[in-house]
């Protein structure tokens, strides 16, 4: 019975955190001075990793961004987003889990996340989609987006923790 309850809870956790990542990617965008938009997908990925741990982060980060790509008409990016953001979430959670209260570890995880996102998109889109020259031109935008994500993701995680104390009971 307990096992059944855990499975149902885990599936709900994954479904809702994946939906949060997808909504942050599709619907919540900050306009940039150059007229473009920065998506907040990395904010959600960072939040889910800090708050719910590596497995939830891996699935929600990868699946949420991939579903957002599919829903937004960018299906060709879905496999790349799945791998890059899934890996980003997993690594962030594993680093932070080593010392949950250490600010240094959180800063290290943020720096690693930026490297994974910019490097991952460069390598995968370069190899399979647009070629390395065009992928190189995308690096600054990816760094900016990942940086906004980790900078906002950490305070968001802390603020949510303060606003809803029971969140610590839900982790995977």
């Amino acid at each position: 019975m307990e096992n059944k309850k855990n499975t149902a809870l885990r599936m709900s956790l994954i479904a809702i955190t994946t939906a949060i990542v997808a909504v942050f990617t599709i619907a919540i965008r900050i306009p940039t001075p150059l007229g473009g938009y920065v998506s907040l997908c990395d904010v959600a990925v960072t939040f889910v990793s800090y708050t719910f741990g590596p497995i939830t982060g891996l699935i929600a980060g990868g699946l949420g961004t991939a579903l957002a790509d599919l829903a937004g008409g960018f299906g060709q990016w879905a496999p790349v987003s799945f791998v890059v953001h899934g890996l980003e979430a997993l690594v962030i959670a594993l680093i932070v889990r080593a010392k949950p209260d250490s600010l240094i570890y959180k800063i290290i995880s943020a720096a690693v996340a930026i490297v994974i996102v910019s490097g991952g998109y460069f390598l995968l889109t370069g190899a399979f989609l647009v070629g390395f020259s065009a992928a190189l031109a995308e690096i600054p935008a990816n760094i900016a987006q990942a940086a906004v994500g980790v900078v906002l993701g950490l305070p968001l995680s802390m603020a949510v923790g303060r606003a809803y104390r029971k969140i610590d009971e839900i982790k995977w």
Partner: protein
């Protein structure tokens, strides 16, 4: 909120079985990625463009091009500069800016990128996401995975609606100066409201007798000779392109 980009239609591609389309899209993308022949890649790109024009119309096809426009521009501008050995195509004095090999390699990347982008867009414009999930279930994707994806797809529009409600409520309570700071408050409220749904949703799953094991679907996909032929063609066509060297 419209999940996916489905466009209603009665074209041949619309009427094609969803399993055949999913297989065709995946294998066709693999064929494009593996292609080293400029002619094969060009033919595949033209085939997807023709399919797209015929199935969803010129306006939607141009819309798909518009979405990838910036990256197409990057490919055209930067890729030819990557390979500069061989015969010169554009020279400035004695400096070779673009070689013939560089231009051919860029054209290959461009054809592959446009082909992959259009074939995925076409799949999503001619099939609903729910149907694609049913097709994945037919290909033995685990029940718990397809159920989680279905739940996620039902939560996304609900969360977007909740986000717009929270944002409006917070903006009403703030003056123009404070609206800039309202983003964090909106995000925190949205997440807390979403996280509170987790135990509720788990309880609903339990009440409905969820065991984690697969159940029979009321809407299972059938099979007949026509669908089998479509699936066979969806495999044969991409393989033919893979073998085209």
């Amino acid at each position: 909120m419209r999940m996916g980009s489905f466009i209603y239609g009665k074209s041949l591609y619309h009427r094609m079985d969803v399993r055949a389309k999913v297989l065709f899209s995946l294998l066709f993308s693999i064929a494009l990625i593996l292609s080293s022949s400029l002619y094969a890649a060009f033919t595949m790109m033209v085939l997807t463009m023709t399919l797209s024009f015929y199935s969803v119309g010129g306006k939607e096809t141009m819309g798909n091009f518009k979405r990838i426009g910036v990256l197409v521009l990057f490919i055209i501008l930067f890729s030819p500069l990557q390979k500069r050995e061989g015969q010169a195509l554009i020279e400035i004095g004695t400096f070779m800016l673009v070689s013939v090999e560089g231009a051919i390699s860029s054209a290959l990347i461009l054809f592959k990128f446009i082909g992959i982008s259009l074939i995925f867009s076409l799949l999503l414009e001619t099939e609903r996401i729910e149907s694609i999930i049913m097709a994945l279930r037919y290909f033995k994707i685990p029940y718990s995975v397809s159920l989680t994806v279905s739940m996620t797809l039902s939560f996304i529009p609900a969360l977007i609606y909740r986000y717009s409600e929270i944002r409006e409520a917070i903006e009403l309570r703030m003056n123009d100066e404070g609206k800039k700071d309202g983003l964090m408050a909106t995000l925190v409220s949205l997440i807390v409201s979403a996280v509170k749904m987790i135990p509720e949703s788990a309880s609903i799953l339990e009440e409905r007798g969820f065991t984690g094991k697969s159940v029979e679907s009321y809407r299972a996909l059938g099979m007949n000779a026509c669908i089998f032929t479509q699936i066979l063609l969806s495999v044969i066509i991409p393989i033919a392109f893979i073998l085209w060297r």
